[in-house]
Amino acid sequence: MMLALTYDVGNIWLDSLLGLLAIIVLMTVGALALIWLERKVSARIQMRLGPMRVGPYGLLQTLADAVKLVGKEDMRPRSADRWVFELAPFVVFVPAFVAFVAIPFTRDWAVAFLDLGLFFIVAVTGLSFVGFLMAGWASDNKYALLGGLRAAAQLISYEIPMVLSLIAVTMIVGSLNLSDIVIYQGRVPLFVWQPLAFFIFIVAALAELERQPFDIPTAESEVVGGPFIEYSGIRWSIFYLASYTNLIVYSLLGALVFLGGWDWPLGREAGLWLQVLLTFGKTMFLILLFMWVRFAMPRLRIDQLMSYCWKVLIPLAFLQIFLNGLVLVYGWPDFTLLLTSGAGLLLAGYIVDRTVRADPRTLRMVPANPGAAEPAAADSAGS
């Protein structure tokens, strides 16, 4: 599919149509494959086999699940607000879909090469919180509303460190064009020069994706599924599809901006096949990283989530921008970027380590309900 699209079709409408088709196919197949992969990865981590019955190694399991979901009755609570309730899944889905438009998969193929591509993706994906709020409010359910508000607060808060870490990178490259950013990394990918920004990006992406340890908006043991609580059938599966599409988008973004995208190593010289392979391989690496984190970490509490964002990640992101500014203004050689950013990463590691090792009794904690001793809600069942 992608091969055919590197030829110039000539007609702008046909070209856009083919591009959209390619994205739709990529997204649907990608999401189906990722759901299967996630179940397999989680099974392996928990010493199980995972889906094995439908097809070889359970490959067709998600397809069967999808058929079941489409066939399910599309239910809506009587007291729900009809239009807002029914539109909410699409408002979550469309931003994730639109973000694909600006992503250059290889040197020659993207639906559109935008000069402000990075900014476009950040701005558009930032809109998905509206859908979560709509779903939470329209369900007319206390848990759904709580989950929706949590989702919006989390998405808005973690967008700031994510944007700041990307700004730090664009300072080095001097362009918001994703192709320029990839080409800049021809010999050395940016995670070498900007390890702190890469760390902040990974953590913020985990939070934006609402995956463990940041799946607080949909935490089963607290808000029983959050904004999705009243959804079933096709609308619920659209939420699910959007979540996996976002996983692909953020992994692609990380692969392009920090891991050298289609260019490093030797992508430009070796041609299309290596470029596709590089983009795919790096994206898969990030996706597997996100999945691995999901099944290895306990869930945070909402106050821990917020203070980690505002008191740790955002100051560190500003530190990264400040250090980059120093290096750029005084024209210091490139390796000072690695030194300063690496020192910042060590600082981040020290902060996390100190918090993890601290004796819980000496921590100043705000009890949820005064009087009752509050154990950390970290031992949740997972999904």
Binding site: V84, F119, F120
Partner: protein, 170 residues
């Protein structure tokens, strides 16, 4: 009619419909959601005017961040249970002011000399120029604006925490 004109009319109709929805919706949450539609449609107009940067900022800041505050306030308070609060006794006055303002804007637009009018082309401003104008030429006003915002933020926190007892031991 060119393609750009068709797109313009679609986007402009969306913006107007969104704006009317904000005013006419019976429900405060509906009004906030219509506001998002109107803001995104205005971003579409910016794209047609070849100012992509402004359009993306509009989406990121106005549609993405400002409306979340509105929605938060509406969903956490009880305004949604009081639909009659949406139409006050002053609506004729508000309508008159809105009509006057709209008339003034239309009069200004039709009588002004716009710089691009001679050749009918849009003058593009590269966003590098925008950045250097904002952060070099006009850096001091920019910093003053951020200082004002910072003071407002601190003031809001002080006001919000006024009735809580001071127990921070650090």
């Amino acid at each position: 009619m060119t393609v750009a004109q068709v797109i313009f009319y679609v986007v402009a109709a969306l913006a107007v419909a969104g704006g009317l929805g904000v005013v006419l919706a019976k429900h405060a949450v509906y009004a906030a959601l219509f506001l998002i539609v109107a803001l995104i449609a205005v971003a579409g107009v910016y794209i047609l005017l070849a100012s992509e940067f402004l359009a993306l900022v509009q989406i990121l800041i106005y549609a993405g961040a400002v409306t979340v505050l509105l929605l938060f306030a509406l969903m956490l308070t009880r305004t949604s249970d009081l639909p009659e609060a949406m139409t006050g006794a002053q609506w004729p006055v508000a309508g008159l002011v809105a009509a006057l303002l709209g008339g003034a804007i239309i009069a200004t637009v039709t009588t002004s000399d716009w710089p691009g009018d001679e050749d009918g082309m849009i003058t593009r401003v590269p966003f590098d120029d925008l950045g250097s104008a904002l952060f070099q030429q006009w850096a001091v006003p920019f910093e003053i604006a951020s200082l004002v915002l910072f003071v407002a933020l601190v003031g809001a926190i002080v006001l919000a925490r006024e009735d809580e007892p001071e127990e921070e031991g650090e």
